[in-house]
Symmetry: C2
Subunit: 258 residues, 2 copies
Amino acid sequence: MALSKNQIKLITSLALKKNRDVSSLFVAEGNKLVADLLPLFGCELIAATDEWIAENKDLILSVKPAAVVAASKEEIKKASAQNAPQSVIAVLRKREVRFSEDMLAGSLTLMLDTVQDPGNLGTIIRIADWFGIRNIICSKETADVYNPKVVQASMGAVGRVALHYCDLCAFVDGLKGKYPLFGTFLDGENIYGRSLPQEAIIVMGNEGNGISDALAERITDRLLIPNYPAGEETSESLNVAVATAITCAEFRRRVIAV
Amino acid sequence: MALSKNQIKLITSLALKKNRDVSSLFVAEGNKLVADLLPLFGCELIAATDEWIAENKDLILSVKPAAVVAASKEEIKKASAQNAPQSVIAVLRKREVRFSEDMLAGSLTLMLDTVQDPGNLGTIIRIADWFGIRNIICSKETADVYNPKVVQASMGAVGRVALHYCDLCAFVDGLKGKYPLFGTFLDGENIYGRSLPQEAIIVMGNEGNGISDALAERITDRLLIPNYPAGEETSESLNVAVATAITCAEFRRRVIAV
């Protein structure tokens, strides 16, 4: 059985958010990523080479995809959004994780104020996963977690970290000051010189504009990642994923037993 | 004077390394990046809108480009490699920084073992700049610093950090053990639990394969960036730019006065 035109059309249509929203489906590509995500999401369709299907019989049996189609390299190439398509494409079912406020209790949580680059968002999800951050609260203008580029850049971490999209200021106001909000600013306080709690929200801003003024007003703790040597001419800022990584690493360093 | 077909051809030709090598030229785009780089590199050509030229009269006078051409938005779009071209494209002269071993003395230096993604390399150059790392030693298979995507992602840091391409193993052997070589590995020693000197080489590996076996044998100090909580299922690794950021931040943290 070959991959039909309609199936190729379904896969390529999921590059667009409106189609993902209507169908509640998304796409993952590549041997490693698909193997990582299959146990974590319902599967509508696997399109793969005969070899991949033969090699992954047990996995397929255990996850029971709605359909498995043997596809030629040519068909996979037609359906793929990658420059170098591999042997498998999976159409998976989006997971709606109901967010509740007690997910914040005792935890570090990330909040993203309009991170727009899919590569940055995917990298940030991978960082969150590494540092045991299970929830990311995103402004509605943040890139979609099920954007294929986000899924690919997250390297499977989308299966272990939940993203919640909402109006950030309204969300923060609803918390009534229960959790401290940390953000990084060029005029913030040296992150290395102060205590960092393990129950907190870490806010990261947009690639070009940083944290919006309305949300910045609600930040309780302004941090600075100091450059080195102090006072020397340098880049004006760090990439948002890089700043997220250094900040999360420093929060966790405080409790990692050596 | 409009942008000629030949000038557009020159600009687009510089997307290829062989053309950059022959001409010793490279391209930078965008108002902020061009303004940052113009004082740092010789300039062969500026193609910009009338408005940009009017607004940047003083800058143009001070850097004395070989040619300044008023271009329509349409012409800039034809020459541009960006999805959303801005008002200016500059053709700049590559700078050959002669590398000498004493650049390593008293300094942190980065070594990249085949970082292939231009976005990753640009981000790493920006990280180096932030943390006062002035030299990066790259394997010959590492992405080219003057690749337009590297230049754009570095956000101007290419003007302050010098990249040197060579055979890494031969280079390291030539140092005869004078400098410690740090690398991150999943079975390394917790980075937070040991001393980190300010004169050292930090080695980062390829996106998929990490540090090559031959170079790994020459690493003197194997580090681990611990995940949190320990032992929990998580992403198998961090993105190479993210690992670079956390490692460099931790080295510098030790000497940043609080």
